[in-house]
Symmetry: C2
Subunit: 213 residues, 2 copies
DNA sequence: CCATGAGTTGACCGACCGGTCGACTCACAA
DNA sequence: TTGTGAGTCGACCGGTCGGTCAACTCATGG
């Protein structure tokens, strides 16, 4: 366990208030490394906040994690996920857009830091969900929401006759799982290209409607 | 971060030698919780080994992690993965067998401990691969091997005419990614049924051969 | 003019971390 | 009988962990 990040203080952060500085620093560190590996002291140093101030805003590290999850989920929902699931795009193209966005994001991160951070939610889910029920539930809720966006998209594609009838709810979950899996594999290879190559196959996933007899 | 496991010493371990006791205890704890969360002290207590003895066999926690990965990969290769990829089984049935095995394993673990441990390799990959290049490479090698089994299976299915021609190498990776993703999602829901429901769709994944013109 | 309270500061806490080490046991070979 | 070395033992190390706290600043409103 060597070389910590050498980033000291992103300029942009100078303007933010204390709470936001803590939040965005924690998010960056948790995403780039892991929850357990990042200590409050380090977060405070990078965010240029004193320990006492930290605990003024967040009662515990667990609460910080929850806030980070909410913050990231929010950015997601209003950021590239919103763009990808743009209702003006043909439904099936949204999937390609999403994969593209994931690829470019991971690639940018790797070019910048040398390693693929993967998906914050996936990372936290595997690291923490066996140990902290509250955090697990929170992450799960984020996945449920993401899955719902897939679900809408598939239903719309079916309505437009672009897709043979299938179990859109289950298939939506399968697609989310696949996306997470692809990012996991890419991270373990430390190679974003995996996302670009495997990603598009997300459109081939199908779970049939339960037989109605 | 509360309630540790209450398992104290599985009977079977009484018979094992010191090194094996450390190894199997560490494996269980790393799998059930996480790498960072499990300390050497705790491993020693459960394995009934003194700290000094531990460091007689493993130079560091990192070395222990490597040994655990190798040990688990070995058990895998000779255990249910070997069964699933049994050459006597029709190729495409092997995939169902694999999904079934994953489901029952996760379900058994959850019934026993109350939570889904997920895949040890996936867990470690997301937790450690951004921080420890050596461990990352080791895990990646395990994934490469697993991917190769899928690859063989797909080639065999194509040879038998059970499958339209496709890019079997890429599709094999996609299937592995999907399996990991499904387990990730199931873990974040703490519900093994996710594996049973989403798993079989692994057979629908397809990556076409690159156009040859 | 002062009271209030949100926000800041940094010293401090006990617990725990991974890891070290010198003393010890004991089976076995010379 | 004695030397050797693999394995055992547990006290100990410096450092870090998440978290506490009393003292402080300072803008605001009465």
């Amino acid at each position: 366990m060597t070389n910590r990040s050498t980033i000291i203080l992103p300029m942009q952060q100078q303007a933010l208030d204390t709470r936001s500085r803590i939040l965005s620093t924690a998010r960056e560190l948790f995403h780039g490394r892991s929850y357990a590996d990042v200590g409050i002291k380090e977060i405070c140093e990078i965010a240029q906040v004193q320990k006492g101030s930290f605990y003024h805003f967040f009662p515990s590290k667990q609460d910080l994690a929850m806030a980070v999850i909410d913050d990231m989920a929010d950015d997601w929902a209003h950021g590239f996920v919103a763009e990808a699931f743009d209702r003006d795009l043909p439904p099936l193209e949204r999937l390609d857009y999403l994969v593209d966005a994931a690829y470019y994001w991971q690639k940018a991160a790797k070019d910048l830091e040398g390693r693929m951070p993967g998906c914050l939610f996936g990372n936290l889910a595997l690291e923490i969900s066996t140990r902290d029920e509250v955090i697990r539930a929170r992450i799960n809720a984020v996945f449920e929401k993401a899955s719902a966006r897939f679900h809408e998209t598939l239903d719309e594609a079916m309505d437009l006759g672009l897709l043979e009838p299938l179990d859109s709810g289950a298939t939506a979950q399968a697609m989310l799982a696949y996306l997470e899996g692809v990012i996991l594999l890419a991270k373990s290879r430390n190679d974003p290209e995996v996302v670009r190559i495997l990603g598009p196959a997300i459109k081939t996933l199908r779970i049939e409607l339960p037989a109605t007899n």
